[in-house]
Symmetry: C2
Subunit: 195 residues, 2 copies
DNA sequence: ACTTTGAATTGACCTATATCAAGCGTATTT
DNA sequence: AAATACGCTTGATATAGGTCAATTCAAAGT
């Protein structure tokens, strides 16, 4: 099934290890294809994040709502990324986040218990998990540094060079929220930087 | 050696698995005790972070210097925490960070290559690594959310409730930098919140 | 086709926080 | 003990970015 081909390629590429026939059978048996329509929620605040999803197609945003009712986007996700609130997923505690499909979304999803099995039984999967966790540590640290040390304009420039796809795929107000800016500020900032 | 006792306890507690005699011998053979005096650097910008250190005693800060020459503290570290720039450590690339001892510092340190061995050979060590990586993911996500959604004052309150030790161990200007504030702002903020 | 909704832009104004500067007290250094 | 440096506070001022409101335009729903 073509859904899974991209998934298998991804695992092998990231992990640097091959998947056997059996491995692939096992993954297919326990990763369920699931579709979400635009605006639908993969996860809602207060719920436990029971599933982790691998995005086959589409996009999503992870956001919180603060006391004043303002939304803050923490993550924007595209194809070949994992979708979950990891805190809730690992600890099975209620999530503080919402994960909403921004375009029609297709994922392959599985549960925490299943993932534990894969980690034990599939060397490529376990190697992948380690690489992802490293990358994740690095990326979050970078983002934190960027948020602390750079001005709004520098953060926008940084986004353009690191994730140019974002500009194509996400509306500007989402990008603004992801950068920690009001939509107005981002709009003005673009006008000035083009001069 | 009492240095190692605390280290072994830590590994077993975090991982939930026991260390055998052999495991402990192996760790002692390849984790080297190292001391740094206050103000000494564990890592300097531009160098590769060859070692990861487990803090037995003392404290340190991880910071960058931006284009305008301003320092930004990304991490404040105390006993039973790991000390490294993980990006540089994993990838063996030059670091953008400085890690400086804020008090006299005692660590147990080892290299990337050795850590790989431990992960393979010591189940408790590998389990610990997974837990730490999960915790780390969760903590950074939380910090990111806090930085984005909260005002300076709320971030300070948050720090007080999550890391009360910090107030005892770190000077106020370091705390300010960690919170992304100028020392003046933090000073004023304390005055107002006590009212 | 008509209506509604929502994204983007622009202007006027406001506020949180930074910056600059001075003064004070307490560690550190010599 | 004197000298120096450094951390903290306080005041005056500057500024980046937020908020509120109005307008335009395009997309989506009926």
């Amino acid at each position: 099934m073509s859904n899974f081909e991209a998934f298998f390629d991804y695992i092998q590429e990231i992990s640097g290890k091959p998947l056997s026939e059996d491995d692939e059978q096992l993954l297919m048996a326990h990763f369920k294809p699931k579709k979400f329509r635009k605006r639908q929620y993969f996860l809602q605040e207060g719920d436990v994040c029971k599933y982790i999803g691998f995005i086959v197609k589409g996009s999503a945003r992870t956001y919180t709502v603060d006391d004043k009712g303002h939304e803050h986007i923490l993550k924007l996700s595209l194809e070949n990324w994992w979708l979950a609130d990891f805190e809730s997923f690992y600890k099975l505690t209620p999530s503080r986040f919402n994960i909403e499909a921004l375009e029609n979304l297709e994922v392959l999803q599985s549960t925490n218990a299943q993932i534990e099995e894969f980690l034990k039984d599939i060397p490529a999967f376990s190697a992948m998990a380690n690489v992802i966790s490293q990358n994740n540590t690095i990326a979050t640290q970078k983002r934190m540094q960027t948020a602390m040390s750079y001005t709004a304009e520098e953060r926008y420039e940084d986004l353009i060079s690191n994730y140019p796809q974002f500009l194509q795929r996400f509306p500007q107000n989402m990008i603004a929220s992801y950068l920690g800016l009001s939509p107005e500020t981002l709009s003005r900032l673009k006008k000035n930087s083009s001069k």
